[in-house]
């Protein structure tokens, strides 16, 4: 081995050491900043893994975060409530967070909102689990969710810096921007404005099924979720929030499968997808599947009454 080559190897080793140290140190610094966030999507997850004390906890996608007015539900039920819903998320996100909470806290009720097509395979559902990456190694449930992601993300998460990829902007906005904090510091409830009364709605895309492909991971996670709640002796309510123009006459295999599983597991299910109080009422919707604050208040009120009378 030539002297030159030896020096090269030593330098490569030195650079590698520097990179590892920088990764650890910068990762540590980012971690400290990360947990200082007081709003936004990550704040909800940090709240779930560390300091949940609420009686009612709500999970799901934007159909949860924008449809369940947590402060209103708190007022109507008299029980503290937090909305952990996050945009675009599925049961793959919900289960690890429920497990994280149940590890140290026993809420009175867990509400999980699931769309009719929840059990359909969608690759985006896995990509969106990147939201959990900063919580790698916080607990095994989160780690196994990250392991479901494509491209060996679980291996990449061994880099402390990579875990916090693209989070700096969120950290700055949700730690130092008062405007953002005011918007999102509402027990997790997020509002979207507008209605569809002046919009031409001739199409009805939500009734199209296309090629049927069930997601076995999601089915497994739903079953595990029910098991975890039962084991912890916590009540579980599954909901589907109102839809503007869902046609129940059209066969929906995903909905059938969902209801079949919920029946098998004897889980309480509140189906708002075809609720006549909302269906076709444009003033409640900001688009076909999202309620505006007026609609969200109506739905939260309906849910709160149901919870009070049947579950609490």
């Amino acid at each position: 081995m030539s002297q030159n080559f030896k020096i090269f190897l030593v330098k490569i080793a030195a650079v590698a050491c520097v990179l590892i140290v920088v990764d650890v140190v910068a990762g540590f610094g980012l971690k400290n900043l990360f947990y200082k966030q007081r709003g936004g999507k990550y704040y909800k997850i940090s709240h779930a893994v560390k300091n949940t004390t609420e009686d009612i906890v709500i999970f799901g996608s934007s159909h949860a975060s924008e449809h369940f007015d947590a402060p209103l539900m708190q007022k109507l039920t008299g029980k503290t409530t937090f909305n952990f819903g996050n945009q675009g998320q599925s049961i793959l996100y919900t289960y690890p967070l429920v497990k994280s909470i149940l590890a140290y806290h026993k809420p009175l009720l867990i509400i999980v909102n699931l769309d009719y097509s929840e059990l359909q395979y969608k690759s985006e559902a896995y990509e969106r689990l990147s939201i959990l990456m900063p919580y790698f190694h916080v607990n095994s449930a989160i780690d196994s969710a990250i392991a479901l992601m494509p491209d060996h993300q679980d291996l990449k998460c061994y880099s402390a810096l990579y875990r916090y990829n693209s989070t700096l902007g969120n950290i700055m906005l949700n730690t130092y921007s008062k405007k953002i904090m005011q918007l999102s510091y509402n027990n997790g409830y997020e509002q979207i404005s507008g209605n569809i009364c002046n919009v031409d709605r001739t199409e009805n895309p939500q009734n199209e099924i296309g090629l049927v492909r069930f997601d076995q991971h999601k089915i497994d996670y739903l079953i595990k979720l029910a098991g975890a709640a039962q084991k912890a002796n916590v009540k579980l309510l599954i909901t589907t929030t109102p839809l503007y123009n869902y046609n129940p006459a059209v066969k929906n295999v995903y909905k059938e499968k969902l209801i079949q599983i919920l029946n098998q597991l004897t889980i309480t299910y509140l189906d708002g997808g075809t609720n006549a109080d909302f269906k076709g009422k444009c003033q409640y919707f900001s688009d076909d599947t999202h309620l505006n604050p007026q609609g969200a208040d109506g739905w939260t009120t309906l849910c709160s009454q149901y919870i009070k009378s049947k579950l609490l």
């Binding site: 650079v15 520097v18 990179l19 990764d23 491209d151 291996l155 810096l161 990579y162 916090y164 700096l168």
Partner: protein
């Protein structure tokens, strides 16, 4: 296997180690096998198409050299027809068929040709042009025919530049496969540095900016004129960093192995005219068109009108080369027209007073952005719709998520470094050059990639060509 994937990094590491461990006489074989593996990682069966053209061009090269007169020309034509035929079939068949179908529909007839569900072999336009340059150079007598089939196959398939160039010439690349590439620390260091820069361009700038651009362009009807204008400017940086980032990784990877590939970009957005832009953007393609099309058509030796026509033909073909869509044809033609106008009005590419230079740079950049609208739009109607909205310049810029802020910051940083590199390169000499300083520099780049990189950004834009 994308350059930005973990699989590629592993593949590259193993190939490099084996390359230097092997005896020099077997290295070409390793590179050929590695290149086959790399290409087959996309769609394995398409290696047969590549193999077909390689065999034809290899034999054509040998027989062109052996023969004289008309036979030489016939062999060249056979080779070119085979290459262009494969390219046309995979790239343009459905496009031509669609347009025939639309035309026939006006006369209440249906096209007799079926629509084919075929996937374009990755990088087909690139290796077709590289293969064509070989047979043309052999025909011209500038390059001896390659006798070793494996070496010729490697010339077409060399994995760092197989799928998106730079489009090399045989005189530059073929001799390098015969040279002994000793392990040189400076090659490894320079190559890795260039790869790192490429990763920054692709992951931190191109894919980051794409989040904003795609969000706006994919919902153009819901966007304001200002958002569309900004997205178009950002797209200019996205495509630049996407393609030049790829090229940097390709050149860097080749450099690590001791090979020199040609420079493909030279800070194109700091050009002061469209003519200069095309001398700095995708240089290997521009020079290919110059050497094998523009000069044979008469080059600058013909009259002005003929020269303008030639320029339009070149840019029309350049547009078609990019993709089988009217948007690319329009993009090529608009570029051609602008170049012709520059020539007619004798707009100089020389830099004068700093204020003139700044104004000319900005005007050139805006004209390029105008052409990118056609490049980025899904169809011609959408392109005109977007242009109309941009001209109205109404509404506000969407800032609903952090994509806008990130995109803005990384684009500003890129412009800063491009300007420094162009006008004040000596500033870098003021920086310390000790080993510790270089370590700090690498560490900073890695931190930037890991924090600001987008790792699910998908493939390189130019792979589709």
């Amino acid at each position: 296997m994308l350059f930005t994937s973990v699989q590629f990094l592993l593949f590259f590491f193993i190939t490099t180690v084996l390359f230097y461990l092997l005896s020099p006489k077997f290295r070409w074989l390793l590179l050929l096998l590695a290149s086959c593996f790399f290409y087959m990682a996309f769609v394995p069966v398409y290696i047969l198409i590549l193999g077909f053209t390689i065999v034809i061009d290899y034999l054509a090269g040998i027989y062109i050299e052996k023969n004289t007169g008309h036979k030489r020309k016939s062999l060249l034509i056979i080779s070119l027809v085979a290459n262009i035929g494969v390219l046309c079939f995979f790239k343009y068949y459905n496009f031509i068929n669609d347009n025939i179908a639309t035309a026939l529909l006006n006369f209440h007839h249906q096209t007799p040709f079926p629509y084919l569900t075929i996937l374009l072999p990755i990088g087909l336009s690139f290796h077709t042009f590289q293969a064509m340059s070989y047979t043309i150079e052999v025909y011209r007598g500038n390059q001896p025919a390659e006798r070793k089939f494996g070496i010729y196959a490697l010339y077409v398939m060399f994995y760092p530049q197989l799928v998106a160039g730079p489009i090399e010439r045989p005189q530059r690349l073929l001799p390098q496969f015969y040279a002994t590439h000793n392990f040189k620390v400076e090659n490894i260091s320079a190559g890795l540095q260039q790869m790192l820069i490429g990763f920054i361009k692709k992951l931190v700038v191109a894919d980051r900016v794409a989040l904003f651009v795609d969000n706006v362009y994919n919902h153009a009807a819901d966007q304001s004129g200002k958002s569309l204008a900004l997205a178009t400017v950002f797209f200019a940086f996205q495509i630049y960093c996407d393609f030049s980032g790829y090229t940097d990784i390709a050149i860097g990877a080749a450099k690590v192995l001791g090979f020199d590939l040609m420079k493909n970009f030279n800070r194109p957005y700091l050009s002061v005219s469209l003519t200069q832009f095309w001398q700095r953007w995708h240089i290997s393609l521009s020079t290919w068109f110059r050497d094998y099309l523009y000069i044979p058509l008469g080059g600058n030796r013909v009259g002005n009108l003929r020269r303008y026509l030639n320029l339009l033909i070149i840019f029309l073909i350049s547009g078609l080369w990019h993709g089988a869509n009217w948007t690319f044809i329009a993009w090529g033609l608009i570029n051609g027209l602008l170049i012709v106008l520059e020539s007619v009005f004798k707009i100089s590419s020389k830099r004068g007073h700093w204020l003139t230079t700044v104004c000319k740079t900005i005007i050139t950049f805006l004209l390029i952005c105008f052409t990118w609208v056609f490049f980025r739009s899904a169809n011609i109607h959408e392109a005109f719709y977007i242009l109309k909205k941009i001209i109205m310049f109404d509404g506000t810029i969407i800032q609903s998520n952090d994509h806008y802020y990130y995109a803005f910051i990384v684009v500003m940083a890129l412009v800063f470094f491009e300007v420094i590199n162009e006008y004040k390169p000596n500033l870098y000499k003021l920086l310390p050059n000790s080993f510790a300083a270089r370590c700090a520099y690498y560490a900073l780049l890695v931190v930037v990639i890991l924090q600001f990189g987008v790792f699910d950004g998908g493939q390189f834009i130019y792979f589709q060509f």
